[in-house]
Symmetry: C2
Subunit: 300 residues, 2 copies
């Protein structure tokens, strides 16, 4: 039941995102192709999903609101750009992601940089166009607030800040507070943006937006720790990517810093916390709670 | 007189830009330092200057309007990010710019990529914050239009599109229409954004915005052709950067495609065209016209 619903919602989000992709023509068609390739490489579309569901949770129309669609696609483009740039030779130097060639491996390094730039810029093109088209003054005001959140959570004080520290600490052991900083920003910040924007676009009050930000922060952290656990316990076949890579790369993770048992307890505690906060907010949180459970209990 | 005025205006714009720079502290301080270094490396601040002056030309308050300040700084950050990424080893591989180490040469390649990302993202943080703070509904609406222009002119159908073709054609001769495409987008697009945004923020009508877009397009093209001419005729001492670099790199330029004489005639024609359009629009265009003349007749 839930799995079916999840699949259908993801499919609808995929359709929404596809409407924002450009035709691969004109002198700049290579970068358009590289952008489309990067976006179509797939993934769980979690950030758009959380944005849409947070909006619905707050009483909004979800993907029937053009601004919800625009911000969802923008968020996915920003997530995608971060992966494309992370994979570059000067960063993680990865040739494959989810079994496919990474963008720079397929299109060359220069085009990998430019495709990432085009994705990040493209996110704000989508939002700019949607805001410019919005005729309702109240919605425009909410959209401006959502833009501020999107940009802040993506930047130096959000996702990018986490990436910076992650890059600087590569090959060196991290302290607990440094690892928390990286996880909170690198994974958490865009999930926070998703749930906050979903709420803000429905005109939710600051308190509610703050509570949903906390939910997202807990989910992001739990998701990341679960990633650390799966890297140790899963198999390449189930996970769809190489396992034991953290150990090989001497990476500090929740499992190396604490113990497997403590890491598992932490995931449980964070997901319980997220669900408890949701229970205290008005709204039908059944799907969101099931989604959070599915994510933190995932085997893949 | 004019030189003095120009210098003072540039100084005020530098002060405006400085207000948007962040303190170099926190775990992500390296990227903040790299961003600040890149922005402070200087330059003529032409894009902010054209934005402010276009706004004043349309009857606006210039840098006394917070949205004008925000968009001016954003535009300079976008210009700066494009230089930082252009200088990367996978692109032009430049170690120096204006006599200083380029960002990646000073901070490493990974941080060069991330600083560029932070600059691009930061531009939209500045705009997002300013729009979120704007209390006047009409100004907010104008701001949304300006955001749409800024994002479009920076992206695949603007500056970035020109950069893509430039990268793909490196080391290969370009046809005239390809060179025009690169110049129009790589140099022209952000100047167009500047003059359009300046006008839009003052609520200028579509016709006027379009006319100023044409002025900027002509100025951008003239400026770029003048660059080609100076690369042949100037000395390293006067220009502050290496000359004859186009010849060494077998680059197609207006001088190689046409002749020196034709290139000079083209610059003259374009700058006359820009001034003629300005003369046909209501407003005091004296400073703008003097600025255009100074730029296309520059020796440096």
């Amino acid at each position: 039941m839930f799995e079916q619903e999840w699949m259908e919602k993801t499919k609808r989000i995929d359709e929404v995102i596809a409407t924002y992709l450009k035709e691969e023509k004109g002198p700049q068609r290579t970068v358009i192709a590289a952008v489309n390739y990067s976006v179509k490489a797939g993934g769980k579309r979690l950030r758009p999903l959380f944005l849409v569901e947070s909006n619905v949770f707050c009483g909004g129309e979800g993907i029937n609101n053009p601004l919800v669609c625009a911000f969802s696609a923008a968020l996915e483009l920003i997530h995608t750009y971060s992966l494309v740039h992370d994979d570059l030779p000067a960063m993680d130097d990865d040739m494959y992601r989810r079994g496919n060639l990474t963008t720079h491996a397929k299109y060359g390094e220069a085009m990998g940089i430019l495709a990432g730039d085009a994705l990040l810029n493209g996110a704000f093109e989508i939002v700019g166009e949607a805001l410019d088209r919005e005729t309702d003054a109240g919605r425009l005001r909410a959209g401006a607030k959502a833009l501020a959140i999107l940009a802040r959570k993506s930047g130096m004080y959000g996702m990018l800040g986490g990436q910076v520290v992650d890059v600087e600490k590569t090959g060196r052991p991290m302290k607990a507070h440094e690892l928390d900083f990286v996880y909170q920003l690198k994974t958490g910040a865009l999930l926070e943006a998703a749930m906050m924007i979903g709420a803000v676009l429905e005109g939710a009050r600051e308190e509610k937006v703050g509570a949903l930000e906390e939910v997202a922060a807990a989910v992001g952290m739990a998701f990341q720790i679960q990633d650390d656990i799966l890297d140790v316990t899963s198999s390449e076949q189930v996970l769809g990517k190489s396992v034991h890579s953290d150990e090989k790369n001497h990476k500090t993770t929740y499992v190396t810093l604490y113990s497997m048992e403590q890491a598992r307890a932490q995931v449980k505690q964070l997901s319980d916390r997220a669900k408890r906060i949701l229970d205290n907010i008005d709204g039908d949180g059944e799907f969101l709670k099931a989604l959070i459970e599915a994510l933190v209990e995932r085997k893949f």
